[in-house]
């Protein structure tokens, strides 16, 4: 790992230089929330954010996208989707959201490779920005991660007051930094120390902890526990938690067509909706909200770890922040953790 610094005076210029050769996504202000958008100038960027409302998973796994084009009808035909390879940089992605991609990789790049996700993933440089001010819903540290972790990004920026400390984490990151080397200079031990101090301070700001130890085994014994019904009674089934989750990846596939042209389109879907599992026969394996709420928490903390060896939650806190009825995953999972059976 190489540690560099860039001065804040030079910062607008590097961003505007990157924009010339990259599709650059960065946090901007939209409708009172932060969101990752393609920016054309440094001035559009708004770094006074805790995190974006919509996770940057939407950049690699688009909310709605065409899978292929078709001519419908009796003598129909198919036109393959052109996979675009656009050089992309995601700037100021938080470590928790970058981890989200690491969790999504086995889903989209497993036995069957999703060509759209793969192209986006391969063509994107993840440039993280450490969280110096995590809030009361953040809990990345519960999973052994840190708000200033460079583990899941190619390059990590950390604001150390007069400069940014720039840690180059991967070969891809190295290539990127080399392309813009004139903006960077080597970091001094003091500057590296300043980053470590920022990280320590930030970790101290995270007050809440989700007790993950042994939770999967505990859940093996709690499938029929009344706690799921208790939380389901509160839930209104809006699906916000799934749409804003950096690891939720469920989607629907639908044909959209006129008489002579059409497309198969995929759109994010949510396990909170009853239609999600409804058979054509009318039978529904998850007919009640309790079944759907239970499935969501089991997917994150039991099924996904069983299949991929990692909890499908990064501690980003969005589901807590945006739940309209204040369902708190930390509170729920800690009750599960502490449950005496």
């Amino acid at each position: 790992m190489e540690s560099l610094v860039i001065s804040k005076e030079n910062f607008p210029e590097i961003i505007n230089t990157i924009i010339k050769s990259y599709r650059l996504f960065a946090p901007t202000e939209e409708n009172g929330f932060s969101g990752f958008n393609i920016i054309k100038d440094y001035s559009e960027m708004d770094l006074s954010y805790l995190n974006s409302r919509m996770p940057p998973k939407a950049i690699l796994f688009n909310q709605t996208e065409t899978l292929f084009l078709m001519k419908p009808g009796a003598k129909g035909s198919i036109k393959p989707k052109e996979i675009r390879n656009e050089k992309t940089a995601i700037f100021a992605i938080r470590p928790c959201d970058a981890k989200g991609f690491r969790i999504l990789d086995p889903v989209f790049l497993g036995n069957y490779v999703d060509p759209l996700y793969k192209a986006n993933r391969d063509n994107s440089v993840l440039i993280g920005l450490s969280c110096n001010q995590p809030d009361s819903s953040c809990f990345c540290t519960s999973f052994g991660d840190s708000p200033a972790s460079g583990k899941y990004v190619d390059i990590l920026f950390t604001d150390i007051e007069e400069k940014y400390l720039v840690e180059v984490m991967t070969e891809k990151g190295k290539g990127f930094v080399n392309d813009f080397s004139r903006f960077f200079s080597p970091a001094s031990p003091n500057q590296i120390e300043a980053k470590n101090a920022k990280e320590e301070e930030a970790i101290k700001l995270i007050k809440r902890n989700l007790k993950v130890e042994g939770i999967e085994e505990k859940m093996d014994k709690m499938f029929d526990h009344p706690i799921w019904e208790e939380y389901a009674k509160k839930c209104i089934g809006c699906g916000t938690c799934t749409y804003l989750c950096p690891t939720c990846h469920c989607f629907d596939m639908q044909d959209e067509s006129t008489l002579d042209k059409g497309a198969r389109v995929r759109t994010w879907d949510a396990c909170m909706f009853p239609e999600y599992t409804m058979h054509a026969s009318g039978h529904n394996p998850r007919p009640a909200r309790m079944h759907r709420v239970r499935n969501r928490f089991y997917h994150k903390y039991s099924y996904y770890p069983k299949n991929s060896g990692v909890i499908a939650c990064t501690g980003c806190g969005r589901c807590i922040r945006y739940c309209p009825v204040n369902i708190d995953i930390i509170e729920l999972m800690n009750r599960v953790s502490e449950m005496e059976l």
Binding site: K71, S77, I78, K81, D252, S257, G262, H299
Partner: protein
């Protein structure tokens, strides 16, 4: 270019056979891939599924109802129910559809050699079993299996699928067919009652026997219960499950039972597996 696993291959409907008419209409579609190479390379095992789509109308997962010994085509038997299946029922021979697959695990027909097989089917649930029936009855395979008993029923005699094929099988010495319908009908000479009851009446011996069942969830439940009563062990009982599916390849998330996805970890499960599976069925 990376292959797109969501993009189907084109196939021509070579033959459409009307199995059941009326409200719960069923047709069997014989499909041949338009690209000769794809057809030649398309190989599957009994119990596997394919995604079939009337382009522009959606896509649905079906069990392949033909036997893998028939290499020139594949067949699916489709009940008219939703948007895509209704559109499929309106197609004509020669029309084009999209096909993806085969997907999922399969019946262990290799491992079942020298065993007796009892098939217990209800309604459209006979479709995946037909693949195994025709596989085990194929000339080159028949002497590798023991007794074959087919216990099959539907609501009415009209609702029975593959009627003409059962009429042929009833003439054969090397397979026993036990049909049933749920309610009395004039002229019906075979069993009247539900499939699980017919199973208890036929009483197939459990020794060295595999039982495979498919039908409505409630039927499967009582068939398994009755098989256990007849002395079958959990490891001798297999079923194939249905779930709503979209991607068919374990990505889109909806067909899980516990941590397993029916599209890729199923659809075939033994009762030994089902018993240990905690999830929403």
């Amino acid at each position: 270019m990376t292959e797109n696993p969501y993009q189907p291959s084109l196939a021509t409907i070579e033959k459409i056979k009307v199995e059941v008419t009326g409200e719960r209409a069923i047709k069997t579609f014989r499909l041949v891939m338009q690209d000769k190479k794809i057809q030649e390379e398309f190989s599957f095992v009994c119990g596997q599924c394919v995604m079939i789509s009337k382009l522009g109308k959606g896509e649905s997962m079906f069990a392949i109802s033909s036997s893998p010994t028939e290499k020139d085509y594949l067949e699916v038997s489709v009940m008219k129910h939703g948007k895509n299946t209704s559109a499929l029922h309106e197609t004509e021979e020669g029309d084009t559809v999209g096909v993806r697959g085969p997907y999922g695990n399969h019946f262990d027909v290799e491992g079942w050699k020298n065993k007796n097989i009892v098939f217990v089917g209800g309604g459209i649930g006979m479709a995946p079993l037909r693949s195994v029936v025709n596989y085990t009855l194929a000339d080159k395979n028949r002497d590798q299996y023991g007794n074959l008993d087919i216990i099959y029923g539907a609501r009415t005699s009209n609702d029975l699928c593959f009627k003409d094929e059962f009429a042929e099988l009833q003439k054969r010495e090397d397979v026993n067919v036990h049909l049933s319908i749920d309610v009395v009908e004039e002229g019906w000479e075979e069993f009247v009652g539900f499939v699980p009851s017919n199973l208890l009446r036929v009483k197939p011996p459990s020794k060295n026997t595999i039982a495979i069942t498919c039908g409505p969830p409630i039927m499967i439940k009582f068939v398994i219960q009755n098989l256990l009563e007849l002395g079958f062990k959990d490891e001798q009982i297999y079923t194939t499950l249905e779930m709503r599916m979209k991607c068919g390849i374990g990505i889109c998330g909806r067909c899980n039972i516990g941590n397993l996805y029916v599209c890729k970890d199923g659809p075939v499960f033994s009762n030994a597996q089902l018993k240990n599976l905690e999830g929403d069925l």
